[in-house]
Amino acid sequence: MDFGFKLSPSSAVNLDQVDRRRYDRLVQLVPDASTCIGCGSCSATCTAAPWTGMSVRKVLLGLQRGQDAEVDRMLSACMLCGKCTMVCPRGINTRQLILTLCRLDKNGEVVR
C-alpha cells in the first residue's frame, strides 16, 4: 500500500566508527580540501548535479561521515568540467581533489 510517504531509514552516524583514512590522505595530498567552507557553489554549478546529485561539498562531508557508498556514487558521476573550480570562493582546485580521490583505495592508499 502506498500512502505517498514512508519512514526514512535511520541516518545516524557514529563518528567513533567512521573510517577517515581516505579523507585524511586526501587532506595530505590536497591540503586545500580542509579549507572548504561548504558554501555549495560547486553543487550549484555542477554539470553532473541535475543527473546524479553530484556535489563536491557533499563528497567532502560524506568522507568525514563515513558515507562511502554515497561518495563513490557521486564521484563516479563527475565529468571534470571544472566549473566548481572556477566558482569556488576558497580557490580550491576541486578537479585535482576529485582526481586524487578517485586514485585512493578504501584504505586511503594511492593505487599504482
Partner: protein, 602 residues
C-alpha cells in the same frame, strides 16, 4: 694525388672506427625498436609511406630543410639559424666532399669507413690538379663555416642573451661531454689538416696555417698526435651521442618520415612517443615560451625537462610535469623539431591507474533529445562554461534572432559535458561515453549546423565526434560569415580599439585566427597583442592543468593581460568563456566575448 701509405691504415683511426661502429649499430637497433613498437596498423602505414613516391619526396625535402638547413629556426632567430645550419650543413658537406675526394683520387679505398674523414693524412699531393684545388678550397670553406658556427655556439653557451634567448637548458654531465667534444672536433681538424698541408695540399686556411706553424715549430712530430686527438674527439662525441641531447640528430631523421606518414602517439612511452622524446634537442626554446614560466616559476616543468625525465625514467617528476601543464600547445608551436608536448603529457595521464572509474552509460538523455527532436536548423550547444557566463549565451541567442535564423538551444537547463575536460585528464574511455550520449541528442535534432561558443567544446566536437553531414562551427566563424553575407547589420564605432585574445583551443588547437579578427574589424579598430596568433599566451585558467592552484595561476593571467594590453586597447575580446572568466578577475579594462561585442553593435 697519391697514397702515402701502402697499407692505407694508421692506428689513430681506431678510436674513430670504434665510435662510428658503436653509434651506427646503436641507432640501427633503436630505429628497429621504435618501428616494432608501433601498433600494427601504424607500422604498415609508415612502411608503405617509405615506398610511396609522394612521401619519399616529402621526406627528403623535409629532412634536408629541417635537419640540415634548419629553415624553421632561421625564421625564428637568424643567429641561432645560422649557428645550427652552419654546423649541420657544413659538417654534412665536409663528409660528402670527403667521399667525393676518395672516389676521385683513390677509388679503391672507398669501402674504408675512415678514409674520407682522414683523407688529408693518407694522401700526398703530386701535382696541382684543378679538381683537387676546387675540392680543397671547398673543404676549407665548409670547415670555416662550421668553425664560425662553433664560435657562435661557444658565445651562446656563456651569454645566451646575445643570441636572443632569455633562458636556456641546464646541461646534464653527459651533455657537457658531448658539447665539449663537439666543440673540439673542428678546431682539431683544422690543426691536423694544417700540420699535413705541406704534404697533402690545402687551401686558403690550411696552407697559411701550415706556413705559420712551420715558422716556429721545427719538425712534424706534433702532426700525428693531432690526428690522434681529432680521432679521439670524434670517438668521444659518437660514443656519448646516444645518451645525450645529440641523439636528436639521428632521431629526427626518423621522426620526419613518421610524422609525414601521419603517425600519432598511441602509447605514453613506446613507439612514436619514444621517438619524440629522443628527438628533443634540449634547446630550451619551450622554457621561454611556456606561459607557466612567468616570473621564473615552473621553469623546470617545460617540455624539454619532461623529455629529459622520460629518458631518465624519473616517474615522480614525469607525473608532476605532466599534471601541471596547461596544455596550451605553445611549446609545440615554437618547437623546432615539432615535439608534441601536450599530447605527450596527456598520454602519460592516460596511463594513470584509478581506484574509481566514472561511468556515464546510465545517464538518460531521452528528455534532452526529445526537447530538440526533429527541429532542424542551427543547434546551439552552449556547454558547461557558457552556462557560467550567461551573458555570452544571451548575446549569441540575440544575434541568431537578429540574423533571423531557425535555431534551438541544445542545453537550455544544462546538458552533458562535451568530454574534452575528461580527455585532458587522460580519461579518454569515459569521454567516449559522453560523446556517444551527446551524439544521440544532436542526431535526434536533425540539425544541419552545430554552433559552439566555447572553443574547448568546439575542438572535441570537430575532432572526436562522429557528426558526418553536420557542420560544426565556432560562433566567431559563424558570425563572421553572417556579417560578410550581410545578414547581421553591424554598426562601426570609430576609435574603439579592440584586441583579440586567441584562445589556445581555438587558435593553436583549431587554427582559427583570422575570422574573429575580421568580425571585430567590422565594429572597431583591431590592434594586436605583443604575442598573438600561434604564439598567443594562455590565460592561465586552462582546464589542461590538473594541479596548478588558483594562486599559481594568477601571475600567468597577469602576464597574459600585460601582453594583451601592449597596444592599449579599450576592450579585450575573446571567444572562450573560460578565458573570459579568468581575465575578468584581474583585468583593468572590460573583457568581453565576441558575441557580446557584436550584439552591442548590431
Amino acid at each position: 694525388m697519391r697514397e702515402r701509405f701502402a697499407s692505407g691504415f694508421d692506428p689513430f683511426v681506431i678510436p674513430f672506427l670504434i665510435g662510428m661502429v658503436f653509434v651506427l649499430s646503436y641507432c640501427l637497433v633503436a630505429m628497429i625498436r621504435v618501428v616494432c613498437q608501433l601498433p600494427k596498423a601504424d607500422r604498415k602505414r609508415f612502411l608503405l609511406s617509405l615506398i610511396t613516391p609522394k612521401y619519399i619526396w616529402m621526406n627528403i625535402r623535409d629532412i634536408f630543410l629541417n635537419c640540415l638547413i634548419h629553415v624553421k629556426l632561421w625564421k625564428r632567430n637568424k643567429v641561432l639559424g645560422y649557428m645550427h645550419s652552419s654546423i649541420a650543413f657544413g659538417w654534412f658537406m665536409l663528409i660528402v666532399l670527403g667521399h667525393l675526394e676518395v672516389m676521385l683520387f683513390v677509388p679503391e679505398r672507398i669501402h674504408l669507413f675512415y678514409y674520407p674523414i682522414f683523407f688529408n693524412y693518407f694522401v700526398a699531393e703530386t701535382e696541382q690538379t684543378l679538381q683537387g684545388a676546387l675540392l680543397m678550397f671547398l673543404m676549407d670553406f665548409f670547415l670555416l663555416i662550421v668553425l664560425s658556427g662553433i664560435l657562435l655556439a661557444i658565445i651562446k653557451r656563456f651569454a645566451s642573451r646575445i643570441v636572443g634567448m632569455r633562458r636556456t637548458t641546464r646541461l646534464s654531465a653527459l651533455d657537457q661531454v658531448g658539447l665539449y667534444s663537439l666543440w673540439a672536433i673542428f678546431p682539431l681538424r683544422l690543426l691536423a689538416e694544417s700540420f699535413t698541408a705541406h704534404i697533402s695540399g690545402g687551401s686558403f686556411m690550411t696552407i697559411p696555417a701550415n706556413w705559420l706553424f712551420r715558422q716556429f715549430l721545427g719538425n712534424d712530430l706534433h702532426s700525428l698526435p693531432t690526428w690522434w686527438a681529432y680521432s679521439i674527439a670524434l670517438c668521444i662525441f659518437m660514443c656519448v651521442l646516444p645518451f645525450t641531447r645529440y641523439m636528436h640528430i639521428p632521431a629526427e631523421m626518423l621522426l620526419i618520415p613518421m610524422r609525414n606518414a601521419g603517425i600519432k602517439i598511441r602509447h605514453p612511452r613506446k613507439g612514436f612517443a619514444l621517438l619524440e622524446v629522443y628527438s628533443c634537442p634540449s634547446c630550451g626554446v619551450c622554457i621561454d615560451a611556456c606561459p607557466m614560466s612567468v616570473r621564473k616559476a615552473n621553469c623546470q616543468d617545460a617540455t624539454v625537462y619532461l623529455n629529459r625525465m622520460l629518458r631518465r625514467g624519473n616517474e615522480r617528476r614525469i607525473a608532476e610535469i605532466s599534471d601541471k601543464c596547461l596544455l596550451c600547445g605553445k611549446c609545440s608551436a615554437v618547437c623546432q623539431v615539432g615535439v608534441q608536448g601536450p599530447e605527450l603529457r596527456v598520454a602519460q595521464r592516460e596511463r594513470r591507474k584509478f581506484a574509481l572509474t566514472p561511468s556515464y552509460a546510465g545517464l538518460n538523455v531521452q528528455p534532452l533529445a526529445e526537447a530538440v527532436a526533429g527541429k532542424g536548423g542551427v543547434l546551439y550547444f552552449a556547454g558547461c562554461m557558457t552556462q557560467l557566463t550567461p551573458s555570452i549565451r544571451r548575446a549569441t541567442a540575440s544575434l541568431l534572432d537578429k540574423a533571423r535564423l531557425h535555431w534551438q538551444l541544445m542545453d537550455p537547463d544544462g546538458g552533458l559535458c562535451c568530454g574534452r575536460p575528461l580527455m585532458m585528464a587522460g580519461r579518454t574511455e569515459q569521454a567516449r561515453e559522453l560523446i556517444a550520449k551527446n551524439v544521440e541528442i544532436i542526431r535526434a535534432s536533425g540539425c544541419d549546423t552545430l554552433l559552439l561558443s566555447c572553443p574547448i567544446c568546439y575542438k572535441v566536437f570537430k575532432e572526436e565526434y562522429p557528426l558526418e553531414g553536420i557542420r560544426v562551427v565556432h560562433h566567431s566563424v559563424f558570425f563572421q560569415e553572417l556579417i560578410a553575407a550581410g545578414k547581421l547589420p553591424v554598426t562601426r564605432e570609430d576609435g574603439l580599439r579592440l584586441v583579440w585574445h586567441d584562445p589556445c583551443e581555438l587558435g593553436r588547437g583549431c587554427g582559427i585566427y583570422e575570422q574573429p579578427r575580421q568580425a571585430l574589424a567590422t565594429v572597431g579598430d583591431v590592434v594586436e597583442a605583443g604575442k598573438h596568433h600561434a604564439e598567443s599566451i594562455c590565460c592561465g585558467g586552462s582546464l589542461g592543468s590538473l594541479t596548478l592552484s588558483f594562486e599559481q595561476r594568477q601571475p600567468m593571467t597577469q602576464n597574459a593581460l600585460d601582453n594583451l594590453t601592449v597596444a592599449n586597447p579599450d576592450q579585450i575580446v575573446t571567444g572562450c568563456p573560460l578565458c573570459l572568466t579568468t581575465f575578468v578577475r584581474l583585468s583593468d579594462r572590460p573583457v568581453r566575448d565576441l558575441a557580446e561585442v557584436l550584439d552591442s553593435h548590431c
